[in-house]
């Protein structure tokens, strides 16, 4: 059974937090989620099935030449950054 503390750990691993009521609602939602998840485990012999990670088998794949193309300019890359300096994105010191 998932607990509120578990949910806080899961959120922290993805680097965000919620208010307490948010965790309460998530916990409530997990009652349904866990019920649905039980369905997934209920198939005999499922362990012998190869997991499907793509809609269909690709028989043919093209590889492009290893030539740089479609690159962005420095100005374009920095355009949406909040803080920049000397053509780079500025963040606090990593080594304090």
């Amino acid at each position: 059974m998932v607990t509120k503390d578990d949910l806080k750990v899961y959120a922290a691993k993805l680097m965000f937090d919620m208010d307490d009521e948010g965790y309460d609602r998530t916990l409530k939602e997990f009652e349904t989620i866990e019920k649905h998840m039980e369905i997934i485990g209920k198939f005999d012999g499922i362990e012998n099935v190869e997991p499907c990670v793509f809609p269909y088998v690709i028989y043919h794949a093209d590889y492009r030449e290893d030539i740089a193309n479609n690159t962005l300019t420095n100005e374009e890359v920095l355009k949406n950054a909040h803080d920049t300096k000397a053509n780079q994105i500025k963040v606090p010191k990593v080594v304090e």
Partner: protein, 481 residues
């Protein structure tokens, strides 16, 4: 606003110009914006490149999760509320090159993760047929903008049924072709193995016209399919006599819904009427059976795979390279703060679900098993496609829900009927929803799903059924006249 083909005639006969059409669309977009909220951005200026395609000079709308250089693109999330892309999505570029004129960027469920049209950062999208009802999602504004007659076509994305469900609720056509048929380059990824690009329009022919233009191999999307050199429009009227359709008994059996409301029964009755019409048209239609347990596993498997993929895809939303910068003493605190402030609670709940699924102790039991179920379901469908040309089913078990609806679409009764369209995302099958008439003065949809790579045949079948049903160009303002 008329259909693409009618507008083409008007343009070619100098009855209108692309500027007139753009102005008309913009005017209408503004007129309906307060009430229905289709758009995040309505364009101030027209960008037009002359071309000789069928959509030259035709206005359209684009879901706000496609990258458009120099034009705000938010994915309807606060974490991207000021983001101005620096490159064009392939779909947008192809439409520009074909002479289509962008009217606006449409509202979606935040980051395309939802099916209600209520979670975008600029508010809920209302159903053009009844503003007290949802239009569905996640391509909510794209569906509404066509249903309102603002534009003759729009572009959406579909990971579970995000084009085909709102199309049903809005009374328009919604099509997602085979996975990889249209490049995903520049589409903000939700769940990469399930994400499709697709089209909304007023009829099947217009849908085919647009798909013909935006499909094709793209070196920037390694999953895009090789060109097949088939023109879908040219094959819409092919003879369908003897083509074989099937529907799944366990999805639509009236005995399963004995104590369901009048609305669900009406939707199912309409479906069976359509089955009879298909037979009259010359289709063979069979009822097939699928283990109900397997059908009930579609939704949980979909949620498992999509939430897990989404947590990974959205890890680039940190507020460092783009998006609102968070506060903090170090880079981790800055990212933590940006993500805490930037995502709505609903998105956080989906991410927590993804995180839970990806915990080491859950990966085998949940994530891998969901992927195994995906294979079982896709294999089952491919078995059917050895014998049949397409599957037909109702797009939903009801009409568009009220905003304050208390019907639980995730309850046991509706778990299959409301979520079966994700099958087409599991297997990458071409899938289209067309209007199937009205129930309680609201449109309902028929979903048609073909075999992989058989996009042309799927559109051909849809076109023939659309002709027989007679709900072409089902636009609210014209329906009322």
């Amino acid at each position: 606003m008329k259909s693409i083909m009618d507008l083409r005639n008007d343009l070619d006969n100098n009855k209108t110009t692309h500027t007139d059409l753009f102005n008309e669309a913009i005017l209408k977009a503004h007129k309906y914006q307060d009430e229905f909220n289709s758009f995040v951005t309505i364009m101030d200026n027209m960008y037009y490149t002359k071309s000789d395609t069928l959509i030259d000079g035709i206005p359209y709308a684009l879901k706000d999760n496609f990258s458009t250089k120099g034009i705000l693109t938010t994915a309807s999330s606060n974490i991207l509320k000021d983001y101005i892309p620096v490159y064009d999505a392939t779909v947008y570029k192809k439409l520009k090159d074909a002479g289509a004129v962008l009217v606006g960027k449409t509202v979606l469920d935040e980051l395309a993760m939802g099916g209600t049209g209520t979670t975008g950062h600029t508010g809920s999208v209302k159903n053009p047929w009844d503003p007290s009802r949802q239009i569905g999602g996640s391509s909510s504004g794209s569906a509404a903008s066509v249903a309102l007659g603002i534009v003759p076509f729009s572009i959406g994305s579909d990971t579970g049924d995000s084009i085909r469900k709102p199309a049903a609720f809005g009374g328009v056509v919604g099509f997602k072709p085979t996975y990889g048929r249209i490049s995903r380059y520049g589409l903000f990824a939700f769940a990469s193995s399930l994400d499709h690009v697709g089209v909304f329009a007023r009829n099947v022919k217009d849908t085919a016209i647009v798909t013909d233009i935006i499909k094709g191999k793209d070196e920037r999307d390694m999953t895009s399919l090789p060109d097949e050199n088939i023109n879908y429009v040219d094959n819409l009227d092919n003879d369908i006599k003897g083509k074989k359709l099937f529907y799944i008994k366990e999805v639509v059996d009236l005995n399963l819904y004995k104590d369901a409301g009048e609305e669900t029964i009406s939707v199912l009755n309409k479906f069976y009427e359509t089955v009879e019409k298909c037979k009259k048209l010359g289709f063979e239609v069979d009822e097939v059976s699928v283990d109900e347990k397997l059908l009930k596993a579609i939704y949980p498997s979909y949620m498992t795979i999509s939430c897990a993929e989404a947590t990974s895809n959205n890890s680039n939303l940190t507020g460092i390279i783009f998006g609102p910068r968070g506060e903090g003493k170090n880079i981790n605190e800055i990212m933590f703060d940006a993500r805490t402030k930037g995502f709505s609670e609903l998105i956080k709940r989906r991410f927590i679900q993804g995180s839970y699924i990806l915990q080491r102790e859950n990966q085998e039991r949940l994530f891998k098993n969901a992927q195994r179920l995906r294979r079982i379901i896709v294999d089952k469908m491919n078995e059917f496609y050895e014998k049949y040309d397409a599957m037909i089913l109702p797009a939903s078990g009801g009409i568009a829900p009220k905003f304050d609806s208390e019907i639980d679409r995730m309850s046991d009764r509706y778990l299959i009927l409301e979520n079966h369209m994700a099958i087409a995302n599991f297997g990458g099958f071409p899938s289209i929803t067309i209007p199937n008439g009205m129930v309680n003065n609201m449109p309902i949809g028929l979903n048609i799903t073909g075999a992989c790579f058989k996009d042309s045949l799927t559109l051909n079948i849809a076109n023939k059924i659309e002709e027989e049903l007679g709900y072409k160009n089902l636009i609210k303002e014209e329906y009322d006249v």
